[in-house]
């Protein structure tokens, strides 16, 4: 549905499965992959994927925040007045982001400096907000955790794929180590590490996902 990108915080993913955990997981991680299919939360996906290491840490952060916020929102779903649910959700998400940020600062200072403001920006990441709004508000805690894991993993995997190729093509390295024999026939293209490379990489990944998934019957553009 083209329309569901219009309002990213409130957009409803198609076909919420009310049933089993496995269905929920597959739905979140593949069929409705937050990044490649729904195209949510792309800010951070573009910004931190210049190196594989950054991508992995960012993926971990999102999995953590997604699980935590889904769980709490789900537990409180019957006690939250409908009118202030947005504010409540933002407060819950922000709490988990602060936790993760403080953790990074305490134990991985270098990584914290590299990610800069993008850890804080998870608060405005549409995926977390969208899952809290669309899933955790209607479902019991356990299922919400599964959904949080699924969406977090779906996001992290795509992030890792993009980070892998950008670091490989842009610097000829993987996780900071030169790939033996690779640079002898390939000249690293700096562009892949810079901003335009991020857009190209994500555009191509989305295109490939669409091609594998086949044309969406609901999508007529």
């Amino acid at each position: 549905m083209a329309d569901n990108q219009m309002v990213c915080a409130t957009c409803e993913p198609k076909g919420l499965c009310g049933g089993k955990g496995l269905v929920t997981f597959k739905e979140g991680a593949w069929a409705n992959n937050p990044l490649a299919i729904q195209v949510l939360g792309i800010c951070s996906a573009l910004a931190v994927t210049n190196r594989l290491e950054n991508s992995l840490v960012m993926g971990a952060a999102l999995i953590f925040v997604c699980i935590g916020s889904n769980l709490i929102v789900s537990i409180l779903r019957k006690h939250t007045p409908h009118r202030i649910r947005m504010v409540a959700e933002v407060a819950i998400i922000a709490t988990f982001v602060i936790l993760f940020d403080q953790f990074l600062r305490a134990f991985y200072w270098d990584m914290s400096k590299q990610l800069g403001p993008y850890v804080g920006l998870i608060i405005t990441n549409c995926i977390v907000m969208g899952r809290a709004e669309a899933f955790a508000l209607q479902n019991p805690p356990i299922l919400s955790i599964v959904d949080g894991i699924a969406n977090g993993v779906g996001y992290a995997v795509v992030l890792a794929i993009i980070g892998f190729f950008r670091e490989l093509l842009g610097a000829g390295e993987i996780l900071g180590h030169a790939v033996p024999g690779f640079t002898s026939w390939y000249t690293p293209n700096q562009l892949m590490i810079l901003a335009p490379g991020a857009f190209f990489a994500l555009g191509i990944v989305i295109g490939i996902f669409n091609a594998i998934k086949g044309p969406d019957p609901e999508e007529n553009k």
């Binding site: 990108q5 990213c8 922000a94 940020d101 907000m129 490379g197 555009g203």
Partner: protein, 196 residues
């Protein structure tokens, strides 16, 4: 770090360090609302206004309240609360005094709360340790830069309706790649001025 003149920061925030094309902030609404030039202009204007106001308020809150009380680690939650409250306030004021403007901007205002460019601008201001005037320059420049980028993309996407795009690339994928080309064009400004 904070020696750079306000003017340099302002120009750099629009061109060389465009908040959208080099820092990737505000992508969600950038992709979603860039179908038409008119819509994107409306959103762009709203973003410029909210961004400059929230950087000023957040500057005051950070250095006036959070720093003296030693509550710096709460900056995220405080900033986002300030932004949400401010957007709500603007919406109410505009609705009361200028219904015309309200209908023009109406649907965009709530969207801005979740626009990461707004929160990003406040966070950059803290990380780069800008003075008050520098923050104002940065907020204004970043807002204008974002608006310029979204209007440009909207223009390109309007033209693109008549071109043949491979089926799997239609929609968001091709918009991404066009944005990449746009970002390359903006890299041409690099070296003119720079802020870090």
């Amino acid at each position: 770090m904070s020696e750079t003149s306000v003017w340099v920061i302002f120009i750099a925030a629009i061109f060389t360090n465009n908040i959208l094309l080099t820092n990737f902030l505000g992508m969600c609404s950038f992709i979603a609302c860039s179908g038409q030039i008119k819509t994107s202009l409306g959103l762009g204007t709203a973003v410029i206004f909210v961004m400059i106001m929230t950087t000023i308020i957040n500057y005051a809150v950070y250095y006036g309240v959070l720093m003296p009380l030693g509550l710096v680690h709460l900056q995220f939650i405080v900033f986002i609360a300030v932004i949400a409250a401010f957007v709500q306030l603007v919406e109410m004021i505009v609705e009361r005094f200028s219904p015309k403007l309200y209908f023009a901007l109406g649907i965009f205002l709530p969207l801005i709360t979740v626009n990461c460019a707004i929160l990003g601008a406040s966070l950059f201001m803290i990380i780069r340790q800008y003075s008050f005037l520098q923050s104002v320059g940065f907020g204004l420049g970043a807002g204008i830069g974002w608006a310029v980028a979204i209007v440009l993309l909207a223009g390109l996407r309007q033209k693109m309706r008549y071109s043949h795009v491979p089926q799997c690339f239609q929609g968001v994928a091709i918009a991404m790649i066009v944005t990449g080309v746009l970002a390359m064009a903006f890299m041409g400004f690099a070296g003119m001025v720079s802020i870090q």
